[in-house]
């Protein structure tokens, strides 16, 4: 009897291992089977995948030339390796501090003014009870988002020119005309506030959505407690949109090093260059439009820029994770 039981247990154990083995086998076959069954999905994503590989990842390997003395004839593989020489040259160049300072000043100024603007607008719109007025303000403030950067730059040059409307206004108020575009000290403010004009409205959409998602009971409770509207904003609205704010802040900080370069390039002229030359416009000049394009040197400068950006986004994301438990990844 005992014997039988033992052997029974043994066969049971064998069966169990066998079953486990078949489960393992079948899970392996089912992975390949699942791939096979869905072959059409792989076919669909094939071209987008190749596109990303070619147009996003191959240029990343092209970054190798930042460490070379690249010559187009010899290609990346054949060009002479120079290590950090291109970076050293940039760090030692007269332009380095100027473009770094301009990039950081412009970005931080832009972040400090441009980031809170849509939040303020959204909070304000959220407390407008007249629906038609609200719709009108929204419709109007979203519109500049769709104006091209060329038109924005052209518009600024027109409106701020010595014969433009702004100087007519200054003259009407008894002031002296100012040629804004040729004075370096105005450049950053022009850039930042035209950015607010263009983007604050559209940027407010996301905050309005977050505000709409806040539990209405919180407001009712606050009302019963006799909280003023400002207290409601402080204790209900702001905490309610905080996760959105944090995410967008991370994304914006990650963009600090390459902010609005296309607009800078358009607004730039020889007279405001002291304030308007940023890293990306410098790369464009050194690497593309120069009579003797220095591909390696320009790539090194661009890589320096990207790496700072990457470090920034990782740091801010870590901080956000610790402090707030909201993060990009």
């Amino acid at each position: 009897m005992l014997q039988v039981q033992k052997s029974g247990a043994a066969t049971g154990a064998v069966r169990a291992t066998k079953r486990r083995a078949t489960v393992k086998m079948s899970s392996r076959t089912s992975v390949s089977k699942r791939i096979l069954v869905n072959w059409q999905l792989y076919l669909l994503i094939l071209i987008p995948f190749v596109y990303v590989a070619v147009f996003k990842y191959i240029p990343m390997f092209g970054l190798v030339m930042a460490f070379e003395h690249f010559s187009p004839v010899q290609g990346i593989a054949g060009s002479k390796w120079v290590g950090m020489a291109n970076f050293q040259r940039f760090f030692n160049s007269y332009d380095f501090w100027k473009v770094l300072k301009n990039t950081l000043q412009l970005s931080i100024y832009n972040l400090a003014v441009g980031f809170p603007a849509p939040i303020l607008l959204a909070l304000s719109l959220n407390y407008i009870r007249n629906n038609r007025f609200k719709k009108l303000v929204q419709m109007t403030t979203y519109a500049p988002h769709f104006i091209s950067v060329v038109v924005i730059a052209g518009l600024l040059v027109q409106l701020l020119s010595p014969s433009g409307i702004v100087n007519h206004m200054i003259a009407a108020l008894g002031g002296k005309p100012i040629d804004f575009m040729t004075q370096p000290q105005y450049f950053k403010s022009i850039f930042v506030f035209s950015g607010v004009w263009q983007s604050a409205g559209y940027g407010s959409i996301i905050y309005l959505a977050a505000l709409a998602g806040i539990d209405q009971q919180l407001y009712e409770a606050a009302m019963i407690d006799g909280a003023s509207k400002l207290r409601q904003i402080w204790h209900i609205d702001l905490p309610g949109i905080l996760p959105t704010v944090v995410i967008l802040l991370i994304m914006n900080v990650g963009q600090i090093m390459n902010i609005g370069f296309q607009k800078v390039l358009l607004l730039q002229n020889p007279l405001n260059m002291d304030a308007s030359e940023v890293i990306d416009t410098y790369v464009y000049k050194v690497g593309i439009i120069s009579g003797l394009p220095q591909f390696s040197y320009a790539t090194a400068i661009g890589l320096f820029n990207s790496i700072i950006g990457l470090i920034l986004i990782v740091i801010v994301n870590q901080i956000a994770k610790k402090v707030n438990e909201t993060s990009l990844w």
Partner: protein
């Protein structure tokens, strides 16, 4: 209950609401004024504009600026090119985006997570301008219309937006039911998914179309032949490089020509923005929707 407290609060609230209305109104007027001014300026006479008599409404109503723009051949060439770049480019973009987003949205798509990670990484790190430029050059795309289509065939951000839409809006049960009926993935995408995805297709089509219409930098980087320039490149030349003098050569009077040069810039801004201004009121809600879908994923 402390009634006086409620009363006090309601007067406080009243003040808050009034201040808020004033704030919103100022924001509204600050955004609106430049737009109104440009429209009014474009319909004024060159002399009124230069003398600074235009403040809010057109002065000495006229269409001289528009006449000069219409007679300028390059602008129309640019318009035609821009439409071509926008239409073809957007079709490529939308097809590519859906082809990438639909498989990525499927739970049973083995390897989807890795592919998504590979895609998303390109949003925070890239080769940059020079390697991009050299790649396009090496592929022989420089100074070809393809250079405005292929290097921008897809935006990863829009793929993520579309993926989260598919995930949220195509129930798994639908796929299972279709499977039971022997429906293939292609057929399911064509007959079930796409008809249910009108909203997201509209959203990404508009995102891409606006991007194409407004972009100038790729043309600046990759095109050298003026015949292929999109409108924004001509706008850049005229508005920012002041190359409009040849537009008004036939105007005899020197100062009048100068005035007209300024006026036509305003008209040109209106003409260039017209397509978007016309469709904007009708499609605005799709952009709002797009931002919302995008924000779910963060």
């Amino acid at each position: 209950m402390n009634w006086s407290g409620v009363m006090k609060n309601s007067t406080g609230d009243k003040a808050f609401f009034i201040c808020n209305y004033i704030f919103a109104s100022i924001a509204f007027l600050l955004v609106l004024y430049p737009i109104v001014y440009v429209i009014s300026a474009s319909f004024s006479s060159p002399i009124a504009l230069m003398e600074g008599r235009v403040w809010l409404f057109p002065v000495d109503l006229g269409v001289q600026g528009y006449k000069a723009v219409i007679e300028y051949h390059d602008v129309w060439m640019g318009y035609g090119n821009s439409i071509l770049y926008m239409v073809v480019g957007t079709i490529i973009n939308v097809v590519m985006t859906i082809a990438a987003a639909y498989p990525l949205s499927r739970k049973d798509f083995v390897g989807g997570k890795i592919i998504m990670l590979l895609f998303a990484f390109t949003m925070i790190f890239s080769g940059g301008m020079i390697p991009d430029y050299l790649l396009v050059k090496n592929l022989g795309l420089l100074n070809s219309r393809l250079a405005l289509w292929i290097p921008n065939a897809m935006t990863v951000f829009n793929v993520i937006v579309a993926t989260s839409f598919f995930r949220a809006n195509i129930p798994d049960e639908l796929l299972e039911a279709a499977r039971v009926d022997g429906c293939s993935n292609f057929r399911f995408l064509r007959s079930i998914v796409l008809p249910l995805s009108g909203a997201i297709i509209a959203v990404i089509t508009l995102f891409y179309a606006v991007e194409h219409w407004n972009s100038y930098f790729n043309a600046l980087l990759y095109l050298s032949d003026k015949q292929m320039y999109p409108l924004q490149m001509f706008l850049r030349d005229i508005l920012l490089m002041n190359s409009s003098s040849d537009l008004t050569m036939n105007v005899a009077d020197e100062s009048m020509r100068l005035y007209l040069n300024e006026l036509l810039k305003y008209s040109l801004i209106i003409v260039a923005s017209l397509p978007l201004m016309i469709i904007y009121p009708f499609v605005q809600k799709y952009f709002v929707k797009g931002v919302m879908i995008g924000s779910i994923k963060g």
